[in-house]
Symmetry: C2
Subunit: 319 residues, 2 copies
């Protein structure tokens, strides 16, 4: 089976029945799409490398799920509806059993969001997956990092630190006792907040997905919006296992562990309670603080609303 | 310097002065583009892996050039005008000198085609480059593999086998004496046939870029168009060094060596001579045969116009 036959057999999806705005999918030099004239196109690319972003012995199903999910998380952060994906799969050997498992998990998640795989590449090399996700938004409606205003309230979805905790457990099971089943899932198969994003696009002033940790990602909002923030430490929602370990360590995981794929967003302070209720009907959201006019200055507050220092550092790939 | 600073310093381009249809570039969760309502969007993704698609000791300048050029070649094959690119660069260590050279070559080629880098990823791992190129065409004008009709004439641009010859020389300098400077360039820095593609979109019935070798790529046109072809072996334009080696070996390189990044296209037989002249003013083109109605059957003809067998096999990654 050569690369063309592999793509044909495992990745050429039959859904959805109508191609819609897709003029040409897999099988030519390039794909062709017709972006509706009232829509803007939102695109994000991410690479996951074996031994760096996932363990060498990770299952093909988990690798496929996570690769796609982290890209969709970026689309969610823009408030967009995901539509099309391209996939470049690099692998050492043509392992048909592996590919079958990978594609089955990939196609299942894609189908859940009515995504169409429209192209990509299959080549030989160290295991690595690059995906570009393409979504659409009504023109001008995409959420950006740059729209936060002083006085806005800062929210996060779900809770933080789950994936980081599960990862630490693998590295040190004494200091980090067994995580919950949900925390292991959050590490291997994070669920992108697509539905929340599409609701937020009509009400939020800024949004980002938490991939590098809240500290770094909220920092991006502050820099892009030229504002500051005050965050109340006790209001940061932490994953269950974090409540059982040393508080300082727990905070480090929640703030800088990364791999959360939750959304951090800002809402105008006067937003109707009904809008908050609508959001909460989709997923848990928590107000963790407020935007200030002190450009790029992020302060943490203790339970007595006094400023406090935290001793931690955001994660970046090459630091 | 962390990944964000690296992107900011080396990849955030200042050109072109007008962002045009780009609503949001590098620096958010995703890029946003407004595709003009009378245009369709053409997208192609390719990955180049160190030790597979280029030698481990290839220069960062050549790697950057080739990575971008092979993607642009796909856009050229669709007849499209390239507009935006995303880049995922995976590298073992943060080597600033390497990145500076890579980005300088990358930005130079991008600038030549007024391309804007709108996003991507920078991560740790074995050296590998994935690029997605995005182009636009007037709606419905993109060239496809599927439009060839019986009676059409088959053309190729430039000549074939140059890159394959240069590669073989590196592997066996006795059987393949020193290639020309141009042939080495064709291996390391192929020039995408962008201008030719945009002229072809108004006159060609089908088009493909020759990356896997003429035999395989013309085969894709025949399969997609449900037609056959007769190709005259002596009319296939071969690179200079191929004329000096054993004829059978030369044909193998020209037909299956791949990495040519020339275009193979079909024109209706009644096309005005002036159109051919216009094309030839951009780059050399050669008629190598004609399309027949024998689905997927490809015959080679000798100089006496008799069918002849060739003993060779198209290149695929996993065969």
């Amino acid at each position: 089976m050569n690369e063309f036959e592999i793509i044909e057999k495992f990745f050429k999806q039959s859904y959805p029945s109508s191609k819609g705005d897709l003029a040409l999918g897999i099988g030519d030099d390039a794909a062709i799409i017709n972006v509706p004239h009232d829509s803007e196109l939102v695109m994000s690319m991410d690479t996951l490398v074996s031994g760096v972003h996932f363990f060498d012995d990770a299952t093909p199903e988990d690798i496929a799920f996570k690769s796609l999910a982290v890209n969709l998380s970026d689309i969610a952060a823009m408030g967009a509806s995901p539509r099309w994906i391209t996939l470049s799969l690099t692998m050492p050997e043509k392992d048909i059993v592996w590919i079958e498992k990978f594609s089955s998990s990939f196609n299942k998640l894609a189908e859940e969001y009515s995504l169409i795989l429209i192209g990509g590449d299959l080549s030989k090399g160290p295991l690595s997956i690059t995906i570009q996700a393409h979504g659409t938004n009504p023109k001008g409606k995409s959420l950006r990092r740059s729209g936060a205003n002083a006085g806005d309230l800062i929210y996060v979805t779900g809770n933080l630190g789950a994936a980081a905790y599960a990862l630490r457990h693998i590295q040190d099971s004494v200091l980090f006792p067994a995580p919950t089943e949900i925390e292991i899932q959050r590490l291997n198969c994070p669920v992108p907040r697509i539905r929340t994003g599409t609701v937020l696009r009509d009400i939020a002033t800024s949004c980002i997905d938490i991939s590098d940790g809240l500290l770094a990602d909220l920092g991006h909002i502050l820099n892009a919006s030229k504002v500051g923030a005050e965050v109340k430490l006790s209001d940061i929602p932490c994953s269950d296992s974090l409540k059982k370990i040393d508080r300082e360590l727990a905070l480090e995981l929640a703030l800088t562990g990364g791999d959360d794929y939750e959304l951090c967003f800002t809402l105008p302070s006067g937003i109707p309670e009904s809008a908050i209720k609508d959001l909460k009907s989709i997923c848990p959201i928590y107000c963790i603080g407020a935007i200030t006019n002190k450009t790029s200055e992020l302060y943490f507050m203790n339970e007595d609303d006094e400023r406090c220092e935290i001793n931690t550092k955001a994660y970046t790939h090459f630091n």
